[in-house]
């Protein structure tokens, strides 16, 4: 895989939605880039438009304004040059694990025997070869998501777009998946745009992190992760990691309050200062 390609550039991106006749701005003049072979995370409060932004890069939705390019060419619709890993399990339930992985190759017109060899090689790397003939419904959540990653990688894309891929997993499975992903990235060195709301996940995996504001989503900050490669789980205990965690938490807390501000004031609360004594909530209510 060439490390020369895989440059994502986003300039002055605006994305508007029409909801109930009103135009809602989801993403507002966002500019960012992912260098070839770089792992970049996009983090922000829920509803900030980070998934919308990724969907635009993937080509699933159209931008309302701005420039979106991959290696200098404008992005127009989805394509196998950008592998996508979704938040929900997106495996085809009617295909076995191997057929799912082969799907992209089949679309490229690769011969059946070659498809099978490539799919089995990739499944072997991900420790999934024993499950090649299973259907997705027979797999655990972590396994499904690993198959999803393998499937996205099978066509050899320059870029991997990941939309909160581990969001639905329990925390133990999640940390295992993060280690698997960072090991895979270390080997493949492709460009990754990773969407998450988990700060530790973003720091552990990324070279660079963009923090987004509440809706309409704008880039609030861009931070370089000072940790060396390859990443190991122990690095999460280093002072650099904790310092970074603290500063991103602070940035995000402001935004989360901004995002929830309207909801909270509508509920009649002036901040969250309700005091609950030993009598419990029932007493207060």
């Amino acid at each position: 895989m060439s490390t020369q390609s895989g440059l994502i550039e986003v300039r002055d991106l605006n994305i508007n939605f029409k909801a109930k006749g009103e135009t809602v701005q989801a993403v507002k003049s966002v500019s960012l880039n992912v260098q070839p072979g770089e792992f970049v995370s996009l983090i922000g409060p829920s509803g900030c438009g980070k998934s919308t932004l990724m969907n635009a890069v993937a080509g699933f939705i159209k931008a309302s304004g701005g420039v979106l390019t991959l290696d200098g060419g404008a992005i127009d619709g989805p394509g196998s040059d950008r592998g996508v890993v979704f938040q929900q399990y997106s495996l085809f339930p009617w295909m076995t694990v191997r057929k799912n992985v082969e799907f992209g190759l089949r679309m490229k017109g690769v011969s059946p025997s070659q498809r099978e060899t490539q799919a089995r090689t990739l499944l072997g790397l991900a420790g999934l070869l024993a499950f090649e003939n299973h259907y997705p419904s027979q797999l655990s959540g972590g396994m499904k998501q690993r198959v999803g990653i393998v499937r996205a990688l099978a066509t050899g894309p320059q870029v991997l777009l990941m939309d909160e891929p581990f969001g639905a997993l329990d925390s133990q499975t999640r940390s295992v998946m993060q280690e698997i992903l960072t090991n895979m990235w270390q080997r493949l060195r492709l460009s990754v745009l990773f969407i998450t709301h988990d700060i530790e996940e973003a720091i552990f995996l990324s070279d660079r992190i963009y923090v987004m504001t509440a809706r309409p989503g704008r880039i609030k900050a861009e931070l370089k992760v000072p940790l060396p490669r390859p990443r190991r789980a122990e690095m999460m205990d280093t002072p650099e990691f904790t310092a970074m965690l603290r500063s991103i938490k602070k940035l995000l807390r402001e935004e989360s309050f901004a995002a929830m501000g309207s909801e909270l004031s509508e509920g009649g609360y002036d901040g969250l200062s309700m005091e609950v004594g030993p009598e419990g909530v029932s007493h207060v209510l």
């Binding site: 080509g59 996508v84 009617w94 070869l129 024993a130 299973h134 419904s137 027979q138 797999l139």
Partner: protein, 313 residues
């Protein structure tokens, strides 16, 4: 089957040894409720009637019992010619019907009737399957096609297939074709509606996944839309087959010269009452066989459904 002898459902094989990292344990099959609270293996177990009745031989016996009760009730009601608002005076006894079955099994006319009915139902049903799924996929997938076709369909949909009988006789050159047409109409709408629903409920993320893997529109139809809607399509086929039989029998009774529906109605006209019951039983058996055939097809065509059911255990 002895309860303690039950093998657990097969679980996925252990992880590939090459995999370096731990993972969630493979889900263990849960024991079913009746297996709960068993004494340790080897200890003598007291006989519990409820447990035995819930086991396989027990449920077979209960099934046989339910049919025996029906036969017995039929026998008693007809032999004693019960007349209590419902009149069993002219109803044939099971023995008479049995004689009629034995008698008719030598008759080529009866087999011809069955053959003709089956041919009509299968032709109408196949026509409805092809057109219903095809139009259903187009309607479910393309909004323009939906706007173009559905208003016209909605006009015809509430009209029962049987109401088409006079019109069908005028429309088609022969009686045979008009009966097939009525069968077709009966099966068409359930298949169409279920196919549309099946296409609509496919998760959007699967389309996105397919496109991002380089799929073109024809690939999406072939590998996402059709398999994704298949479960609903088969539900439609099942209902459609039932309605096809209803429509066929009614059409044969009204306008036929052959067929099992005609046979049943003719038996009434000729006052050969055992043959009425024979006709009804035959229709029931044929309907059951057709519905089993569809079930079998659905299992062959959708092996992943069995896998999903196994995983839920």
């Amino acid at each position: 089957m002895a309860l303690t002898d039950r093998h657990p459902m097969e679980s996925p094989p252990a992880a590939a040894p090459s995999h370096p990292l731990p993972r969630k344990p493979v889900r263990q099959p849960r024991l079913s409720a009746i297996e709960g609270g068993q004494p340790a293996a080897g200890a003598p177990r007291p006989f519990r009637p409820k447990e035995w009745l819930e086991s396989a031989p027990g449920s077979w016996m209960l099934g046989a019992l339910s049919i025996a009760i029906v036969l017995l009730a039929w026998y008693l009601l007809t032999v004693y010619r019960v007349d209590f608002y419902v009149r069993f005076g002219n109803i044939p006894t099971p023995v008479e019907v049995w004689h009629s079955i034995v008698g008719v099994s030598h008759s080529s006319r009866f087999l011809t009737d069955i053959g003709i009915s089956l041919r009509r139902v299968l032709l109408g049903f196949l026509g409805a399957t092809v057109t219903g799924t095809l139009i259903g996929i187009l309607v479910g997938r393309y909004r323009i096609f939906r706007s173009l076709t559905m208003p016209a369909m909605e006009v015809f949909r509430p009209i029962p297939a049987i109401a088409w009988v006079p019109m069908a006789i005028m429309l088609w050159p022969s009686n045979e074709v008009s009966i097939v047409f009525i069968t077709f109409i009966g099966a068409f709408f359930p298949i169409l509606i279920n196919t549309i629903h099946g296409v609509e409920q496919i998760d959007e993320v699967l389309f996105r996944a397919a496109y991002s893997l380089g799929a073109k529109e024809k690939d999406v139809i072939l590998y996402v839309v059709i398999p994704g809607a298949l479960q609903h399509i088969f539900a439609g086929l099942s209902i459609g087959m039932g309605v096809a039989w209803v429509s066929l029998i009614a059409a044969e009774m009204i306008s036929g010269q052959f067929g099992i529906g005609y046979f049943t109605w003719e038996a009434y006209s000729l006052i050969s009452y055992p043959d009425i019951a024979l006709g009804m039983i035959t229709i029931g058996v044929l309907g059951l066989l057709c519905s089993k055939a569809i079930n079998l097809c659905s299992q062959l065509v959708m092996p992943w459904m069995a896998a999903a059911a196994g995983a839920r255990k």
